[in-house]
Symmetry: D2
């Protein structure tokens, strides 16, 4: 092994502009690997790094937590991985193995958990050095640009749904058809749920159906809660939106015993009325993406079921442009940077 | 069988005064029984009847949904019950058997479910006529005045806890030591949970310990969320209070993966911040008492474990006085009316 | 309402020959309905009636517990159903509402549960009189001949799978491709499981793939346990076979924490070795079909997902022939009797 | 740090006699600790080491997987533990962090999992060198001789019960009152289960009651299955016996939906009849002790609830005598070796 040179797109300081730089990427230390990046998804959460919204961020910092690539170097104490294998790295950037959550095997809640592109330099680069315990193998069937967005937008929704307790045939509503939602609809449909997509505008109806939704609710013309109740209520509503009011009003669409799972962070707090929760034994549940193994399950399920993200690609050197496109909300639906490797 | 005469304490109209009357109690119709009431607990929810806060209430109406008594008459199409058996009747006042919830066996969420003392005349009386599918057998070991409050305050907390997913040794906090809370603390302790009682004032500490709490937090001097986090966080917080702010702030005391279960109806809506829910995979859950069989489980567990409510008794004819005592918040902790039967 | 005349194919005595008779079908008593049968599946369990293998069977008896038809008469105390609605009746032939299982809402385990075609006359007839609490609505999308086999072979496998705890992407193996298995493979695939079909002979491989299986194991050439372990082990194995040795040896294919669910009754006892159960936290689980509501869920999921049984139809008057075909094991895969109604 | 000298009781070869030797205990390597042993329980499974029944055993080998002691040295890359802390080491002797089970956080099923006293030298010694990821902290309230047996006999039964799905008030039967059973009865009772102890002979009845059992069945005079059914059936039967026939016949005592959990390894295979499993939705489940964190939960629950093993102590140099006592079946109920440290 030896250090390698490559490009990186770093944020020099909180709120600063992206800057393309050349860097040395040293050999991975104990428990780590070095990944030759092929593709890296751009996520709204990259703004945490860009704008300095995460406590304790140190700059310069390279964002990027949807990394697909090939192992370039592996520390000698990492038995599982070999140079040349295709791996993915998501939001979960490694865990400590010693905190209580880790000792319980609940790595995603590690008290010392790292976040890719926040705790260490991420995937807007030719190389990433990352903890081995954060990785997922990428199955052959998936291309890098398709795998990348699944490592954050994909895993978060898939992992929420598969652990939701919903059973095949149960009614599952996906609130929002965007970066997360357009994947969630596919996951829900391929999991055998009676899938209801909810979004703004009639123009999204054909897409929703194409993604596998059995039903579509246009929230600009219909009251989602009322429409869901006409269907018997939703066993699960997966909220991918940031609109707190939309989330709050959707709760009225839950079936008896139903739960709303929050993936998208609402832009503000919202008021909860306990009575429908109590009378209908309903719940409000938060869900925090998943581990490397969860990512691997997500990738494998996507390959098995033919699920892909819809993407727009930008070369690494146009990372700033790709990021702007993503933040503008106009991307359909995920932006992916490619290194050309 | 034949109709019988007896006393009843009825509410003549929404907001009216209690009125002691003599009534004829006819033979129970198909699927029903007539109970000779021995004891009936007074619950805060009786104010729904007293003040007309439940939609569609018809007057005069006799409140009372914590009824312990003896079967006095049983319809011929009810195979399970026999005259002379001791039975209890709680909040759940019978289900329809034909709605979707009933067809799924989830009777407490019956779309046509009745509520004792609201949908039909309840236990502030010498007799109650009730659907047989709402009843619980009372075990020998329990006296009527002890059984009565368990049929609402008891079942609600016990059923919430036993279905919470908490395991023996897990930390369970009970928010509030009142009518519900003083039972919840006992149930939690006898279920092997590491039980934390949270209430206002240092003077409740000895009682909490006596009820079985391993730890006590005085919320007037300590921040419950911070104190719970020092203990590792609560797997379950059972909220029995009506103070929405107390409930909202307690959520910060949840462990990773923890849930707050709402038993007491908060007096207002409260603002939820999604971030701690998402980051810690936490949830907010409503819980609606239980069925006749759940009541029976509650009574049996109480008998097995030696759990009793703390009560103040009033004769039926002093129901108004007992009700005032309960509503004043001064009762320690449940008021029970006795018929002298 | 009034009684109606129609045909029935009855078994005159244990081990006797089928006999086509004309009968009077009276008005349904309290809690019951009369169904105009359109189609009735023939199931191996019909031999219980034919051969008198069920304790307490009274003759003559009409077999048939996969009944699809139209409501012809409804007792006045049955609020849910209306004459003219399409309904299905399966193995579960009604429950008592008063035993402990019923009071817990667990109707399929009713201590007084009836079985269609065993406890009362079943669907080898123009009409069936059945308890209303056993029925399922049939969705428009399903034809009668397709719905019928789903009411036993379908519900048993679907209900086992959806309650198995398997999640989308998990490996689920179906042991046997016959009447139950060819449906189970479809249910597993449409539920998003990585579906492995196991059967005897290479010739079933194309069918297995066509039904949705991702992988096929020919148990005459390969060791299913070893092949499953190469795939990482099965989270769930659903056994639809009667061959006890096949079942016993398949257990070795379970993943850590996996379970084998038994649908088909093995023809004999088999020897269990506890060590692989203990070391791998594995389990052996029995599963008993489901309720009317479970049937309804099965039918709805089948309609949603485009799942159909493969059937051979016989007119009612050729019931004996159809039964022989079924018992011969040559049917591909379910035999359905039609009344021509 | 530096190596230390101390005694060890080693088995020189499969089937050989115990031999007290003096040894050098080197500094712990990466990821390991050295424990100054205070007490070590003797377990029937120590015969695996003594008699060479575990595949691949290398000799000489020091048995002992119920180790309570004080940290004597800690590798520099182990952040959690400090010299001087009291820790316990059980059957689980560390996991690899990289196999699929480990990546899922399910350490007890690690494909490369080690077993204390089998994979490496165990607690029949003054010192043990062990992987840090196998350890549990011992709470102050527990003495070493009490903590030791909880690290195998305790954790196995407690972990089985708390993950069994049984809820407070449910009927839980403990089959066998021996080393495991006398702890299981205590755990069951303190978890709020209606606890039924089953053993051979009327003379064990007073002990069973003293340990907290609500009911006792003498299997020499009564049929356990029939007696359990009189009580409504057991939600859970925890089998701690090695008598396969006793286990097999107890299955008949399961309630609807009940499960038998196997802790004790039966001395032979037993024949399973699938019909009662299917008709009653019952299951047979294996359970493999637990991780270091599970041990810690066990110790904490024991301290919280006042649960202790009944023990007979022997000084380390009399290990052979203590082992014989244990294997004779006459010990009441666990033998513990003490080092005098
Ligand atoms: Zn950690
Ligand atoms: Zn992201
Ligand atoms: Zn209902
Ligand atoms: Zn109440
Ligand atoms: Zn029943
Ligand atoms: Zn059948
Ligand atoms: Zn491992
Ligand atoms: Zn042991």
């Amino acid at each position: 092994m030896a250090s390698v040179r490559g490009r990186a797109v770093e944020v020099p300081a909180a709120g600063g502009e992206f800057r393309l730089v050349e860097r040395e990427f040293p050999d991975p230390p104990s428990g780590h690997v070095r990944i030759r990046v092929q593709a890296c998804g751009v996520c709204h959460s990259d703004s945490l790094t860009k704008e300095g919204l995460w406590p304790g961020l140190q700059y310069p910092r390279v964002p990027g937590h949807e990394v697909a690539g090939v192992l370039d170097a592996v520390a000698s104490d990492v038995p599982l991985f070999k140079v040349g294998q295709r791996v993915g790295l998501g939001w979960h950037g490694g865990h400590c193995n010693y905190c209580e959550a880790c000792r319980r095997g609940d790595f995603i809640l590690c008290a010392n958990g790292q976040v890719s592109g926040i705790s260490f330099d991420g995937g807007y680069a030719d190389y990433v050095i990352a903890p081995a315990n954060a990785l997922a193998f990428i199955p052959e069937e998936l291309q890098d640009v398709d795998a990348a967005p699944l490592l954050c937008a994909g895993i978060t929704t898939f992992n929420s749904l598969r652990n939701s307790g919903a059973r095949p045939g149960d009614t599952v509503a996906i609130l929002g058809i965007g970066g997360l939602g357009h994947l969630a609809v596919q996951y829900a449909a391929k999991s055998g749920y009676r899938t209801v997509a909810i979004a703004r505008g009639e123009d999204k109806a054909p897409l929703a159906k194409q993604l596998g939704a059995h039903l579509y609710i246009d929230s600009t013309k219909q009251d989602p809660a009322a429409e869901l109740q006409k269907l018997g209520g939703a066993t699960v509503i997966l909220s991918t939106v940031t609109n707190a009011d939309a989330l709050a009003s959707a709760i009225g669409g839950l079936a008896n015993g139903g739960k709303i799972i929050i993936n998208g962070v609402p832009e503000k707090e919202w008021a909860v009325n306990a009575i429908p929760l109590i009378l209908g034994r309903r719940s409000i549940v938060g869900w925090p993406s998943g581990t490397g193994m969860d990512s691997e399950d997500t990738l494998n399920f996507s390959a098995l079921s033919g699920i892909k993200p819809m993407t727009e690609t930008y070369p690494l050197e146009k990372a700033a442009e790709g990021y702007e496109r993503m933040m503008s909300g106009k991307a359909r639906f995920r932006v992916v940077l490619t290194t050309g490797a």
